[in-house]
Amino acid sequence: MSALRTGAPAVTGLELDAAARGAVVAAAEAQRGRAGALLPVLQAVQAALGWVPAAAVPLVAEALNLSRAEVHGVLTFYHDFRRQPPAPHTLRLCRAEACQAVGAAALAAHAQQRLGCGFGGRSADGRFALEAVYCLGNCACGPALEFDGRLQSLASPLTLDALLAEAGS
């Protein structure tokens, strides 16, 4: 999805300042002793920086004795890894069957209309990211959503509006 359409900041992540570079190297150092360390390393980088900048790829590859292509391949395969800085607030809506059965589609339409963006996009002011998630394991109390990491059950357009208002939207 293009940065223009989603309103995402046009950050490329091709350069890292000294602090970010230090964080990447430290993450790689801390995890490299584990067998099959690439996912834990990328997760540690994302935990430290909030995302995985493109410039982290060669550093991680170097630390783990992998090719850049291997690191890039893993980074782009998994839905969790962010390749742009996170928005201040993230709304994740469950769009899987159990939530569909209790109105997830209507909730999704409401969220898109309210934030003025599609899934994978951001609100015009860039403060809210809207993401789809396929099952939060909260399937008896749907629709389920996660706002800034907090799970909410029995979500409705009304409760969603309240959450967003609380966060200043």
Binding site: D80, Q112, G142
Partner: protein
């Protein structure tokens, strides 16, 4: 003496206010000078009653629920510390009909114990299975599991003991035990509840698996969407190491077993065991060709047991009570019990552990209480996103691997998603194809390309573009997907699609422009 009060710390209960209820109980108790010990338990899985608060009175737990923080002062006024009457009082928890009629073996400790207290675990029968297994040679452990009839609860239902025997007999100096905790199927949460509410059962089961096959290293591969389970497991592993349950000398037996928690990164396909192994090894979660099977060439090419959470957490019960005791439950080739999950549009959603054999209808009416919306049930999807959509007329089918397969479905991980009469089965079929396209690992062509073609064909069908031809094309495409895909994602996506088409043909009638099924994945 302080009154013991149990409030779940489980994710759903917390999302419904369990933390606020806990704080309110603390405040009210302090204000009244009442001594209370609040224990944060797992959830029993009666979600429509959450937050379910249990007060211990004369050694018996009295349940109140669903409790909101605002109810707490009134509960204190009603004397709930002594089991006093209140509109939220449900009575002794063990007398609740919904619980009493279950056969909880694997999930018996959920909501009962403090998930992280090892002494509590032991007091409720924990570690008895491991102590028994430590006395047995590997071949006898494996035979015990075979005799129990336990089959993999993750979905494939392969006999767990046969898998263990293959790993035991495989040559190799290094072997592994891997727990598949990538419970990605919509409508399922039994693994999550078990990990959050009784993590030592999983750890104990994995140690027994290690003893059985000669593995000294285990991994739990947990999906990232379960942060609460992650926190509980991480703490349980630390406590298990500290207590000598894990490490170089398991319970003083001179046998070693190390266990590491790994977190997934949001890929449904990693619930497929070979994709999971690829991911553990640090690569893209793409499925492997088989043979060879993971049992002989698994993690880093070594013989590997891969079982899901419920399978491994059932193992301690079998060793504590005997293989025959477990096999006495169930019917036919489906032995033991299955923690079923009632989800979607259901009045009393939650976890129902029962011996195989109950019909879907009994389950949905007696335990589920019909739909949450109060409208008639029109369809259920049994077995997750790759399971069939069934109309009410097929609900007489028994919960039994063979019976469900014979009726054209798949029991899978035991999740049952209920839909009322507002469901659009063409939209659901389209979603099944979309989901397959979204989560396909990309390794095999039928799944990678066929899923996208499937969405297009359904769109043309709905638009009334030569409907008979599109239906034939869709069936042909589904045949290709089921015959030629490498794994169950591509192989079983036709199941929801074709079952929807077969049982709800009217939903696939062409509709005017603008009312075609809306895309549900990535707009």
């Amino acid at each position: 003496m302080n009154v013991r009060i149990c409030v779940p710390r489980e994710a759903t209960a917390v999302s419904l206010g369990a933390d606020a209820v806990t704080a309110a109980v603390q405040r009210a108790a302090a204000a009244r000078g009442a001594g209370v010990d609040i224990v944060r338990t797992g959830s029993r899985g009666a979600f429509w009653l959450e937050p379910l608060v249990e007060v211990e009175v004369d050694g018996r737990r009295i349940a109140y629920g669903p409790v909101r923080a605002g109810d707490v002062p009134a509960l204190f006024d009603a004397g709930f510390l002594h089991g006093g009457a209140h509109r939220l009082r449900l009575g002794p928890v063990d007398a609740l009909d919904w619980l009493r009629r279950q056969q909880r073996l694997t999930t018996a400790r959920l909501g009962v114990v403090d998930p992280l207290a090892l002494d509590d675990y032991r007091a409720h029968g924990g570690l008895a299975g491991l102590e028994c297994a430590l006395e047995l040679p590997p071949a006898v452990i494996v035979q015990t599991l075979i005799d129990s009839g336990l089959r993999g609860r993750g979905g494939a239902a392969f006999p767990a003991g046969i898998k263990w025997r293959t790993v035991l007999e495989a040559a190799g100096s290094r072997k592994y035990v891997v727990c598949n905790a990538d419970e990605g199927d919509s409508g399922t949460f039994s693994d999550r509840l078990l990990m959050e509410g009784d993590p030592y059962a999983l750890i104990e089961g994995m140690i027994i698996a290690g003893l059985a096959v000669g593995a000294a290293q285990g991994y739990i591969y947990l999906r990232s969407e379960y942060p609460a389970a992650r926190a509980v497991l991480a703490a349980a592993l630390r406590a298990a190491y500290a207590a000598g349950l894990l490490g170089a000398d398991v319970l003083g037996s001179r046998r070693a077993f190390d266990l590491e928690l790994r977190i997934g990164a949001g890929a449904y396909i990693c619930g497929e065991e070979t994709a999971l192994l690829e991911s553990l090894e640090g690569r893209r979660g793409q499925v492997r060709y088989r043979p060879p099977l993971p049992a002989t060439h698994g993690l880093w090419g070594c013989p590997t047991v891969v079982n899901n959470v419920i399978t491994l957490a059932t193992v301690p019960w079998i060793f504590a009570h005997g293989a025959q005791a477990y096999a006495d439950y169930g019917q036919g080739r489906s032995r033991g019990t299955l923690p079923l999950q009632l989800a979607g549009n259901v009045a009393r959603g939650g976890l129902v552990e029962l011996a195989f054999g109950i019909t879907l209808d009994e389950l949905l009416q007696d335990f589920g209480g019909g739909t949450r919306s109060g409208r008639p049930i029109r369809a259920v999807q049994v077995g997750g996103p790759l399971g069939a959509y069934w109309p009410a007329s097929k609900l007489g089918t028994a919960v039994d691997y063979e019976a469900i397969a014979a009726a054209g479905g798949m029991l899978g991980h035991g999740g049952i998603v209920v839909f009322d009469d507002t469901v659009d089965l063409a939209a659901q079929a389209r979603y099944a194809m979309e989901f397959c396209a979204f989560e396909s690992c990309g390794k095999c062509t039928p799944c990678r390309i066929g899923s996208t073609r499937g969405v297009e064909v359904i769109d043309r069908l709905m638009a009334g573009d030569r409907p008979d031809f599109q239906q034939r094309l869709l069936r042909d495409l589904c045949q290709t997907l089921s015959d030629a895909s490498l794994c169950a994602l591509g192989g079983l996506t036709p199941l929801p699609v074709l079952s929807a088409l077969e049982h709800f043909p009217g939903d696939f009638a062409p509709r005017p422009p603008g009312v075609t099924a809306a895309p549900m994945v990535r707009t």
